[in-house]
Symmetry: none
Subunit: 240 residues, 2 copies
DNA sequence: GGAGCGCTGTATCGTATGTTACGTATTTTG
DNA sequence: CAAAATACGTAACATACGATACAGCGCTCC
């Protein structure tokens, strides 16, 4: 079975004419970076002409050059988004019984914080600590407990912390309490809920500052959010 | 010092207008793949117009969009050529970008799972999946949302899942429903609550199987628990 | 409440990019 | 050795991509 373009190339490189073979070798040599550049650069690097590059990708089975580039990008994305596969190959560092699930979770956390600067966190923290405004928290079907959890902790250090629970109609009534000085913390992950999006939009129209916790695919609420915290969530599991 | 474009973005994201901030967040969320695609695709993914994307890369200091893409590609190439540094650097003790808090948290998780065999987890999982009995979940003041969270997920794969909330007196009434085939999941961390201990003892007397999630100092409920999961919780923080 | 500023989207333009046609060179076969 | 077929590059073409000018809008500050 052929899973990557690199395998596809080394599989067919034997049947290629000289010029296309040079293209293939150039691509393999610095895989896959050259393939992401333009045809002109690719051809210059391989020392052949542009049409030869085009014939090369055509022989690999691609309809046109952009389609070839998209495949390379998808391959790269798959590699980057699951660093766990690379961590799995060498024996686990601690020597203990490291499960794939645990390693994936640790990697997820590292990735999440990698894309989160201290400054952003400090900004959000100071915004939440601002005593002049009220703080509202809300979550989706599964994430509502997270909102509740955070609300319990926030309530310790300041008053005016409200967790919005129950029916959608009950949230609406709280909208009239919200203003520009207030902060709305929303948890919305994976199966994004329409009701939450609508609520976020209404709050946004009232000038409420929205802090959104979501996953790497970004809930549509990100449109209205002042701050977005995107966490990596994928783990090797049969759960959806 | 700013070495990557991601850092550059998180450094200036605070000074950006709303539209460009959406672009920045979209790029960070699936870094850096979106940036390698066309302006049109980028703008569509971020929900803004093409010029906003161009203004965004311009604000980052790039002369034009292709120059921005080249920088991303160079960054990617550097990452790919030294895959070791990618996964090995973050855990390094002197790591510059890694916050002490994050490292402590990751260490906590590793320690927690180190003392937790696969067999124990499998036992608990099969016990929870046992359809013959009911499952009850309860937590303390701060940990109750965790119980709620777990209940929401368990409820997906089986019925007869009950989260015990509200007043202590209300839990008592549910005791008569519990028997030897049932499982009670308790979260009790740090300031162990007397009410929870009493409840656990009564449940234990009725033959209920107790699964306890606690910290490394072990809640007194561990006396009655069939399974105990002790997690490391200490992080460097001013929080008690 | 009014005036000014800054942000954002629509529409247009120029151009760089991928694509194709054709002629020449090189190799292969009878 | 000759003839044909395949491969490669040059050059012209069309598409779509990035860039820019402009107008509408909301926001802030006076």
């Amino acid at each position: 079975m052929i899973s990557s373009i690199a395998e596809l190339i080394s599989d067919r490189i034997g049947t290629m004419p000289a010029g296309e073979r040079r293209a293939a070798q150039t691509l393999i040599a610095s895989y896959p970076m050259i393939g992401l550049k333009t045809v002109a650069e690719f051809s210059a690097a391989a020392g052949v002409s542009s049409p030869t590059i085009l014939r090369f990708v055509s022989r690999l089975g691609f309809q046109n050059y952009p389609e070839f580039q998209s495949s390379l990008q998808d391959e790269l994305a798959a590699q980057l988004q699951s660093p766990a596969t690379r961590t799995l190959n060498p024996p686990s560092p601690g020597g203990g019984t490291a499960s794939p699930m645990l390693e994936a979770t640790l990697d997820n956390m590292r990735e999440t914080f990698k894309h989160l600067s201290d400054k952003q966190l400090a900004d959000i923290a100071s915004r939440l600590a601002d005593r002049r405004g009220k703080t509202f928290l809300i979550g989706g079907r599964f994430t509502d407990p997270l909102a509740r959890y955070m609300a319990a902790h926030l309530a310790v250090i300041q008053s005016d912390v409200f967790h919005l629970a129950g029916q959608e109609s009950m949230w609406r009534d709280r909208l009239i309490d919200m203003g520009k000085r207030d902060v709305l913390v929303i948890f919305d992950i994976r199966r994004y809920q329409d009701s939450l999006v609508r609520f976020a939009e209404k709050a946004h129209q009232r000038g409420v500052q929205i802090v959104l916790f979501t996953d790497q695919w970004l809930s549509p609420i990100a449109r209205f959010a002042r701050y977005v915290i995107a966490g990596r969530t994928a783990v090797p599991s049969a759960w959806d």
